[in-house]
């Protein structure tokens, strides 16, 4: 009689999910699934609301990276108010939004790497769960914990001065932004007392990369082989191929690095991307249309971005990017744990870009909003911390939203995360007589590499964590491992 293991809830991810792993009579792996069990329905209840409300309302689907939704919705509304498809804003409007976004990606990446992922590295995948958490980090690696908190705080301060609040602000409005950067905020963010200044953030970002690279040196087996598998990669890139988290064209490559979606306009995303629904998860399965639902899946997020871009337009991050690229001889990097490496390079890029923008005079003065001929449909695409984010709205003649479609970053990574679960289950659980907590955590480590936001992915509400269930071959539930 076989078994089914359920891990519920999955911990140290945002949102609520569970994993089921089916084993045969000899405890060998048969099948696994990552189920996302929340549902919220933002796409439905935004209908009827005025279009200018969307950037403020829809961002409420997340408390970790609301700025991404705020900006993606605002970009869609830019199209509706005739302010262009991403490049028509005033310099002040665009640069303030970019600064907001860099602050957002910076704090979100820091949260993920230092608070959620680093306990697995510092204490080991099978380390004592009592200390394998952020409290354990604070107790045993105090300096790192302080850095993590202060870096996150810095990113949130950036959000506050651009959006009005650290979480769920109102800065981006259709056609632009509603404020300038104030001089006292500029001075304090550039030259504030240590550690709250931009130079310290750059220094610590480099420190984070050193930490990872040193760990990598000593743990190549885990970092290079854990949940590694070939895949397609998709992201938005700047028209000249640079990393651009705010605006650009859509590019996808295959596992060999061949371009399979060649710099297409984001407004045409529906010509190239579709979503499949499966009965066992509230999270949909996006795919590239020309390859179909079975083979069209792809990865998004930091790893995918560094695989698709040609260069990074900030000097220190570019240098790190070259080291990153050289590690795979310029070929696409398909190692899931290298998401962390890519994420840390992006943290450095964000810090460099924040410094550049904070010194930009356009942020202090200039027109805030631009508008043109009004339309009835808008698409806003953004590179959120976790990957490419699509917001698509239609409105009626009375300015009310009639249709909303969101393809959220984590949703794009649905199949990749399922593959990571499968890979970890095969490596750590298959054939084992007794399943212990460390083995279950290995499954979670695979998911965690993607920094999933399950709340966003289902536009859902609910408790955070994940569960693993163990079933026999007759589908009888044998065991549940739950983490609160």
């Amino acid at each position: 009689m076989g078994k089914k293991i359920t891990i519920e809830p999955v911990t140290r991810v945002e949102g609520h999910g569970k994993v089921t792993i089916h084993l045969d009579d000899n405890n060998n792996f048969k099948r696994s699934r990552l189920h996302i069990v929340e549902f919220r329905g933002f796409e439905k209840f935004i209908q009827g609301r005025p279009y200018w409300e969307a950037p403020v309302t829809v961002q409420r689907l997340c408390g970790i990276c609301p700025v991404s939704h705020h900006l993606a919705a605002a970009k869609a509304m830019d199209v509706i108010v005739g302010a262009g498809t991403g490049d028509g804003l005033t310099p002040t409007g665009e640069k303030m939004r970019r600064l907001m976004h860099f602050g957002q990606v910076f704090q979100s990446h820091v949260l993920h790497f230092f608070h959620l992922a680093s306990p697995d590295l510092l204490f080991g995948i099978d380390g004592d769960p009592a200390i394998r958490n952020v409290i354990g980090i604070a107790k045993m690696h105090k300096e790192l914990a302080v850095q993590a908190v202060m870096m996150r705080k810095y990113g949130q301060e950036i959000i506050k001065v651009t959006a009005g609040k650290k979480i769920h602000g109102t800065g981006a409005i259709p056609g632009g932004i509603n404020r300038h950067l104030e001089i006292h905020n500029k001075i304090s963010l550039i030259n504030g007392p240590d550690p709250m200044n931009i130079d310290k953030m750059i220094e610590w970002s480099l420190g984070g990369l050193d930490f990872f690279k040193n760990y990598h040196k000593d743990h190549k087996d885990v970092i290079d082989n854990f949940a590694a598998y070939p895949s397609k990669h998709l992201s938005m890139v700047r028209k000249d191929g640079a990393l651009d988290l705010y605006h650009g064209v859509l590019r996808a490559i295959d596992s060999e690095g061949n371009k399979i979606l060649n710099d297409v306009d984001t407004q045409d995303y529906l010509k190239h991307i579709a979503e499949e629904v499966r009965s066992w998860s509230y999270m949909k399965f996006p795919y590239l249309k020309k390859y179909g639902p079975k083979d069209g899946w792809y990865r998004v997020g930091p790893l995918a971005r560094l695989n698709t871009v040609d260069f990074i337009p900030s000097p220190l991050a570019q240098k790190e990017f070259e080291i990153f690229q050289a590690y795979t001889d310029g070929k696409p990097n398909n190692m899931s744990m290298h998401y962390h490496w890519a994420r840390l390079i992006e943290i450095l890029h964000c810090a460099e870009m924040m410094k550049e923008l904070l010194n930009d005079p356009n942020l202090m003065k200039g027109e805030l909003v631009t508008k043109g001929k009004k339309g009835n449909e808008g698409i806003g695409v953004l590179e959120a911390p976790r990957g490419t984010l699509f917001h698509h709205y239609k409105i009626n003649k009375d300015d009310q939203i009639t249709m909303a479609n969101l393809i959220v970053s984590t949703t794009n990574n649905n199949i990749p995360m399922n593959l990571a679960v499968e890979s970890a289950a095969k490596q750590f659980i298959s054939g084992q007589e007794k399943i212990d907590e460390g083995m279950l955590n290995a499954v979670e480590v695979g998911i965690r590499a993607y920094d999933p936001c399950l709340s966003c992915a289902t536009h859902a509400i609910g408790k955070l964590p994940l569960q693993v269930k163990l079933y026999d071959s007759n589908n009888n539930l044998l065991d549940i491992k739950t983490k609160d």
Binding site: P50, P55, T170, I173, N178
Partner: protein
């Protein structure tokens, strides 16, 4: 010249004249009495009851009750503020007020009063009534989910030739504000803004204005409702 006499508000002796309302007297002397349906230059109607005070032991509305000699008025007391909070709570639970996504947030008198009166979670159950949005007018949008039936719009907003743009329709619990679209479609942007401003909540919105006021600059972002009146007292003392 009218003869002056004395009254007491929360123990403070004030010299007042016949004909003034309790609310006027209080406001002129830096004492804040919360209001909602009352609005500058409109005839008071005492419909919301938020300005209720105790006059010689009896609850009366401050906006319509004129001062009389020997009045002893209780205003800023635990009992009166609790009663006001209950009125505010009933407005929240009978409508659908989602402050986080409302563009009037920070400028909303209902929200500001809830903060001032320290409303936490309403003690009554939400009705979750299904209410419509009327967005058919090119200049204004009416969100019935947020209307508290104060009638300030119907009393205060007229066309240039004095015609009413807003009115009540239906009766009892079905009563709702309605807009004369024929008249309203030709109003100026200034008049549309006036209509939005006269509404104490986010029920009347000037279209496409949205979240143009940055957080930190909105009316009640930095000081509670009523502090402009209370400042008078500080200046005088």
């Amino acid at each position: 010249m009218k003869k002056k006499f004395k009254i007491l508000i929360d123990g403070k002796e004030l010299s007042v004249k016949h004909g003034q309302t309790i609310l006027e007297v209080a406001s002129n002397n830096g004492i804040y009495i919360p209001t909602l349906c009352n609005y500058v230059n409109l005839e008071p109607q005492a419909s919301c009851r938020v300005c209720s005070v105790k006059v010689n032991g009896r609850p009366m509305t401050a906006c319509t009750t004129t001062v009389r000699p020997k009045m002893e008025i209780e205003n800023d007391t635990k009992e009166m503020n609790e009663l006001r909070k209950i009125i505010i709570e009933t407005m929240f639970i009978t409508g659908n007020h989602f402050c986080p996504s409302c563009e009037k947030s920070g400028n909303c008198e209902l929200q500001a009063l809830a903060y001032r009166l320290k409303m936490d979670v309403p003690q009554f159950s939400y009705s979750f009534s299904n209410k419509d949005i009327d967005a058919s007018n090119p200049k204004l949008m009416i969100d019935h989910n947020r209307c508290i039936k104060c009638k300030r719009c119907a009393r205060g907003i007229k066309t240039d030739d004095g015609k009413d743009i807003f009115a009540f329709k239906n009766r009892g619990k079905k009563i709702m504000i309605s807009i004369d679209n024929e008249l309203a479609k030709n109003i100026s942007d200034e008049k549309a803004q006036e209509a939005m401003d006269i509404c104490p909540v986010g029920a009347i919105l000037k279209k496409e204005r949205g979240f143009i006021d940055p957080i930190g600059t909105r009316k009640y972002d930095n000081k509670p409702i009523g502090s402009d009146i209370e400042k008078l007292m500080e200046v005088r003392s």
